[in-house]
Amino acid sequence: MIERGEPAGIRLEGVSATMRDRNRGEITAVRDVDLDVRPGELMTLLGPSGCGKTTTLRMIAGFQAPSGGRILIAERDVTHVPANQRDIGFVFQNYALFPHLTIFGNVAYGLQVRNNSAGEIERAVAEALELVGLAGFGERLPNELSGGQQQRVALARAIVIRPRVLLFDEPLSNLDAKLRVSMRGEIRRLQQALKITTVYVTHDQEEAMAISDRIAVMEAGRVVQLDSAEALYRRPASAFVAGFIGRANLLHAIVESVNADGAILDVGGQKITVPAQGAPGAPVSVVIRPESIAIVSTDTGLTGVVQSRTYLGDKIEYEVSFGGQMLNIVRFNPAEDEGHPPGTTISISIPSADVRLVD
């Protein structure tokens, strides 16, 4: 493969995109997004459909012009540089293989465009196909390959040119669940080995957590939180992020009093503490992960009534009514005699460190 220098960073400064939609008129798909993808990093844009993540990616690629802001790759302003001069590799959701070219022809295409010698091309293509586990498939046509194989070809075609930036647009969404898991591992392995700065778009939070260095969670055209998977999980900035990354209980409460350790909240008569400040009497929302709530035999002052109990082998999931609201509780590795059938009243404990105030 063609050797390249240091990996490049990508910076978005106040990037917006407005588009004309036939039915809805002018819509703003991306609003004032700032992003700083570090050299060699794999950053995921995560969010529900319609949040602007794909539009952001397509603007980085140059398929779409931003209506405002600047895009920099390796500190060079590429906002008005066409896609074919940005030195990128793009992997499409639908693979977008050239149907009339063989696998070899598909992978070689980018090298032929760059006027490499025939021998060099042959070597580089063979190496790329080897890397994605498709050595010997060169003479086949795309429609003779399975979906997973086609996606590998798309991957090989994107990395063979050793782009400074690799862009993925929901590359695994057309594959079945098992293949998705193994392919995402492969993508991560390749990205690490080649040290290519990568932006990866997905709506699957597990996929995002599995492969990313950092995740930018997007909602309605904005980046609402940008952090590592662990930080997003432990310290979600909003109920939306908490709900999108993992499972979360959202409780509405009233601040009762404030002391040095934090605030005491009232949830329908039951009291929980949260390590944060607040004005007494103000309504607030808190997020509690289902697995951080414990069912205990001692009296903690907090009680709930089991509404349903679902046995799932490695865990049991409960729905518990608590202070007039519904609480999900997950108990991992349950003991053989763990009962709590629906209708029983249980004592629970909620560690205040695991309660998080959100907007």
Binding site: N84, N94, V113
Partner: protein
């Protein structure tokens, strides 16, 4: 790199080159589609004092015209019903019985023949078979002075000529009804007959309606078959309009009659697009569908169906064999000495017509192919003001009966400022604007299959717009271009309904010569001409297919487009 620049600018929104191409196309469409129609209507509906409906009401009140109108509708309805029935039986037999592969190929060949023949080949063969000296009527049955002319033989000849359209429209539809649906109905306890009625037939209803309308329109517009076979007792509108103009030199009367034809043709067009178009059940789930059930027909029923189809196929082949023999004997029905005299005639006396036809077809072919691809690309991949209107206008001459288009051209280009009568240009223009829409629709269908991300993938790999066009888009559009070429060539060789009004001393056509031969009762040369046309069409389309196969990879499949 100049071309690269042009291509780059072509792609970007609102660029001058594209605007220029669109403007040129609109000019051409205005001149060759809209202007002739306006002239036709103007001529038909005016007298010395200006616009008036009087000619139309007079035409409607004429008994003979009303009779021709009623005959046209009757014939078209019967052809629609019979042809759809034949087409359905053929399609059903191929898709649902255990017919051997060889038989299916035979069926395909036999149904392809009428599509690439001059329109009145079947009629000529009918004369050879059932005419006064016909093989069956005279030689086998010993009848003297058998009459082949009239409704029944016109109906039979048109049904045989047009049922392949129904077959081609219905076969993919039946294939699309997954066998799992039928098996599901079986598992619920239905009998085979009940499954056929309630599932298979019900799901095919929109297809049947579509096929009927297709055949109705084809028969309504058919000019050659009734001219040869209908005789004096069964006048229909297209032939009446033609006789009005060539026999009585009454251009205005012909124009009025062709307008009468416009009414049912327009109704059929609207029905096709607004009723049938919306009712497509065929299941497009994107999942690999279950293969058609071969268990849905009882063995005896399958055998009966195959026997029926084979009989029809043998009859078609018999007609073409008659044509071939008639071209090779001194006088069919009287003197069966082998001779090449008829071919000598067509290559001496008939040579000008052959040369003219080939020149016109070979010039029209690339123009029509290019026009189809350009319009198809513009319509499918770009946005410009008036795009939907252009889509409709480009289809007009294709949808209108040839008689209307021919008379409209005759009126429009007979006087300055656009004096084209007597030139090859008027014939070529007629063919290009009348038969390129197949190329347009194929291009559109093809481009709809090619996701935009394919182009983007090429850009992302560093390719320029021109490189993307040359290496990616061009090979992908190529099949549509070649489909356009084939159709324009085949029609240029075989069509007559519109261009019979446009030939002159300087430029004539093989099909017109065949017609003249038929009226002069020199049947031998007519047969020889027909055989020659079929051979040329088979060879040229064969070569085109071969070239296309060399140019494109097997990874591409051309979407099926009727016409």
């Amino acid at each position: 790199m100049a071309i690269a620049n042009v291509w780059t600018r072509w792609r970007s929104a609102g660029d001058p080159l594209r605007a220029f191409v669109v403007a040129v196309l609109w000019l051409l469409l205005a001149l060759f589609v809209l202007y002739p129609l306006v002239e036709l209507i103007g001529r038909a509906l005016s007298d010395d004092s200006g616009f008036t409906l009087a000619p139309l009401t007079a035409a409607i009140n004429s008994r003979s015209n009303l009779r021709a109108f009623a005959n046209s509708l009757l014939l078209a309805t019967l052809v629609g019903v019979c042809g759809t029935f034949f087409g359905f039986l053929f399609a059903f037999t191929v898709e649902r019985t255990r017919a051997p592969r060889f038989w299916v190929r035979l069926l395909d060949v036999a149904t392809l023949l009428p599509l690439i023949s001059p329109p009145f080949t079947t009629s000529i063969a009918f004369v050879f078979s059932f005419g006064p000296r016909g093989f069956i009527t005279h030689d086998l049955l010993g009848m003297n002075n058998a009459s082949v002319y009239g409704l029944s033989s016109t109906l039979a000849a048109e049904t045989l000529t047009y049922f392949p359209l129904a077959y081609m429209a219905l076969r993919p539809m039946l294939a699309g009804i997954g066998g799992d649906l039928e098996e599901m109905a079986f598992s619920l306890g239905s009998s085979r007959w009940r499954v056929f009625r309630t599932v298979t037939l019900s799901l095919t209803v929109p297809g049947l309606a579509n096929a009927f309308l297709l055949l109705f329109a084809a028969s309504l517009a058919d000019f050659a078959t009734p001219l040869i076979l209908a005789g004096n007792d069964f006048p229909v509108l297209p032939t009446e309009a033609y006789l009005q103009i060539t026999g009585m030199f009454d251009l205005k009367g012909g124009a009025v009659l062709s307008l009468l034809l416009l009414v049912p043709a327009g109704i059929v067009y609207l029905l096709q697009h607004h009723v049938v178009g919306r009712r497509r059940y065929v299941t497009m789930t994107g999942k690999g569908r279950a293969s058609a059930s071969q268990n849905s027909v009882a063995p005896w029923a399958g055998a009966a169906l195959m026997a029926f189809c084979l009989t029809a196929v043998l009859f078609i082949l018999y007609l073409y064999a008659l044509l071939l023999i008639a071209s090779l004997v001194t006088s069919f029905g009287a003197n069966h000495t082998l001779t090449l005299a008829h071919y000598r005639v067509i290559f001496t006396e008939g040579l000008p017509a052959i040369e003219d036809t080939l020149i016109i077809a070979l010039i029209g072919m690339p123009i029509g192919g290019l026009y189809g691809v350009v319009v198809g690309y513009l319509v499918a991949r770009t946005e410009f003001i008036g795009r939907p209107a252009m889509e409709i206008v480009t289809m007009l001459n294709y949808a209108l009966p040839g008689t209307i288009v021919g008379i409209a051209y005759l009126i429009a280009f007979n006087q300055p400022p656009f004096l084209l009568t007597g030139t090859a240009a008027i014939i070529i223009a007629c063919y290009v604007f009348r038969y390129s829409p197949t190329g347009i629709r194929t291009t559109v269908a093809l481009l709809q299959q090619i996701d935009r991300s394919i182009e983007e993938a090429s850009f992302s790999l560093g390719a320029s717009s021109f490189m993307t066009f040359r290496r990616i888009m061009l090979p992908l559009i190529m099949p549509a271009f070649f489909a356009g070429l084939s159709v324009v060539f085949i029609r240029s060789m075989t069509a007559i309904s519109a261009t019979i009004f446009l030939v002159s001393i300087n430029w004539t056509l093989i099909t017109v010569r065949i017609l003249e031969n038929m009226t002069e009762l020199s049947l031998g040369p007519a047969a020889a001409f027909s055989v020659f046309v079929i051979l040329v069409v088979v060879v040229v389309t064969g070569v085109l297919n071969k070239v296309l196969r060399r140019l494109t990879a097997p990874g591409l499949r051309l979407p099926a487009v009727e016409g």
